[in-house]
């Protein structure tokens, strides 16, 4: 019974009676059979398209969304940003190694840290608002407690939490300041204890760099989704480390994944210039958001509070706003002067922030 195999990494050479070549062929056949069965099972339930069911929903009108704030201060490409739960503070990180905490209402910089590496590709705000985590080419995720004393040297209190064997692509606190989830160019994701730096769980299954991750809304339970250069989006059980669902319909790297607010679905954005919606209970892709005129990759996606709108930041400097149910684009937003690299809706849904290679952030 393969399910009782507790140490999958140890080759069972001693107990093998069959020639390895025969076992390999047998396993490959079983693998192919299972893949076909998986496709068949999914197809059986594909009775209708989402946009068809959504025909009876009212269409959305014109959207006018304006840039309300421009945050200037980074010396190079902005790579990542995250909102504080207080709905006004933002942390952002850049290619020049700087991590900045902003008050988005006033545009003031409240904290700034210079990392020892360039390309800080990941940053995240702690749920308490009292710390930020970041990392990138240093292969680590470090946590900086935010001091109320603006003169205090943040770098002195830095705590190294995660260690990967390649770049850190994304990080997120779980529902407390005590644990951080990371994804890496080394092809794995990992869950860490912040206080001790201990590795709590690792997640193996991607065949190439993992580029993004998102935690399921807390009501839904202990799962998260990751996307990678292997074109796969994987859903993981955080306690067991098991990959429970996997989706491979994108045609290129998946740069961003984000859960639908109910937790029953997630969206992805890819270098193949499409965003897609995957329903977890139907176990399949249920929508593609694309247009022939959109040929540049999507770097980041996020939903509005109700899940009706999907915002996508693109490498052609624009933001496209999609009607999630009907599959149509409702708005295109201009403003950035280079790629949009990161995008997040604020915790109360009143705004969204974008970061760009043009060195600025916009709210």
């Amino acid at each position: 019974n393969l399910m009782t195999d507790e140490s999958p990494r140890v080759p069972e050479m001693a107990t093998q009676e069959v020639q390895p070549n025969e076992t390999l062929t047998h396993l490959k056949t079983e693998s192919d059979t299972l893949k076909t069965k998986l496709e068949e099972e999914r197809a059986k339930l594909h009775d209708v398209e989402l946009h068809q069911v959504a025909e009876k929903v009212d269409g959305l009108g014109q959207f006018i969304m304006k840039t309300r704030r421009t945050l200037k201060g980074h010396g190079n490409k902005v790579l990542c940003m995250d909102w504080c739960k207080d709905k006004r503070r933002i942390v952002s990180s850049s290619q020049d190694g700087k991590v900045i905490v902003w008050d988005a209402f006033t545009t003031n910089k409240e904290h700034a840290v210079t990392m020892p590496c360039t390309w800080v590709m990941a940053c995240a705000y702690a749920p308490s608002g009292c710390a930020v985590a970041c990392g990138g080419l240093d292969n680590k995720c470090s946590v900086y407690p935010l001091s109320l004393d603006k003169n205090e040297n943040l770098a002195a209190k830095k705590k190294s939490v995660a260690m990967h064997t390649n770049y850190l692509s994304a990080c997120s606190f779980t529902n407390s300041d005590m644990q951080i989830l990371t994804s890496s160019g080394d092809g794995t994701c990992a869950l860490w204890d912040v206080e001790s730096g201990q590795l709590l769980q690792s997640f193996h299954g991607h065949a190439a760099d993992v580029l993004c991750l998102d935690l399921a809304p807390s009501e839904t339970g202990n799962t998260f989704v990751s996307g990678g250069c292997d074109k796969k989006a994987n859903v993981w059980d955080m306690r067991s480390g098991q990959c429970i669902q996997s989706f491979e319909t994108h045609e290129s790297d998946i740069n961003s994944v984000r859960y639908y607010p109910s937790g029953d679905a997630f969206a992805s954005g890819s270098d193949d210039a499409t965003c897609r919606l995957y329903d977890l209970r139907a176990d399949r892709e249920v929508a593609i958001y694309s247009k022939e005129s959109i040929i540049f990759g999507v770097s980041s996606v996020d939903f509005s509070l109700s899940g009706r709108l999907l915002f996508g930041g693109y490498n052609d400097y624009t933001i496209n706003v999609w009607d999630v149910l009907k599959g149509t684009r409702v708005s295109i937003l201009f403003g950035h002067e280079n790629r949009v690299s990161t995008l997040r809706v604020s915790p109360d849904g009143t705004a969204f922030c974008t970061g760009s290679w043009d060195h600025t952030l916009r709210v």
């Binding site: 999958p8 390999l24 509005s304 509070l305």
Partner: protein
């Protein structure tokens, strides 16, 4: 000996893949029609409290510029 080790590694990897596929094939699924109507219902139930969807009046928009001296 080295080729035997290599083969054993590939067998272990193939076994993991089969194990993984068995798990994925065995999960319970619902019809797309049901999944879709659930997504639509969620959107409908939360539409009124979605500021970016509904639009915000100036007084409710924390990012709208007000008088320069107010918070």
């Amino acid at each position: 000996m080295p080729s035997k080790m290599h083969n054993a590694g590939r067998v272990a990897h193939a076994r993991r893949m089969v194990q993984q596929l068995r798990i994925e094939a065995s999960i319970e699924r619902i019809k797309v029609s049901k999944a879709s109507s659930d997504l639509m219902r969620y959107c409908g139930e939360h539409a009124k409290s979605d500021p970016l969807l509904m639009g915000l009046g100036a007084s409710e928009n924390p990012f709208k510029d007000k008088k320069p001296w107010s918070k």
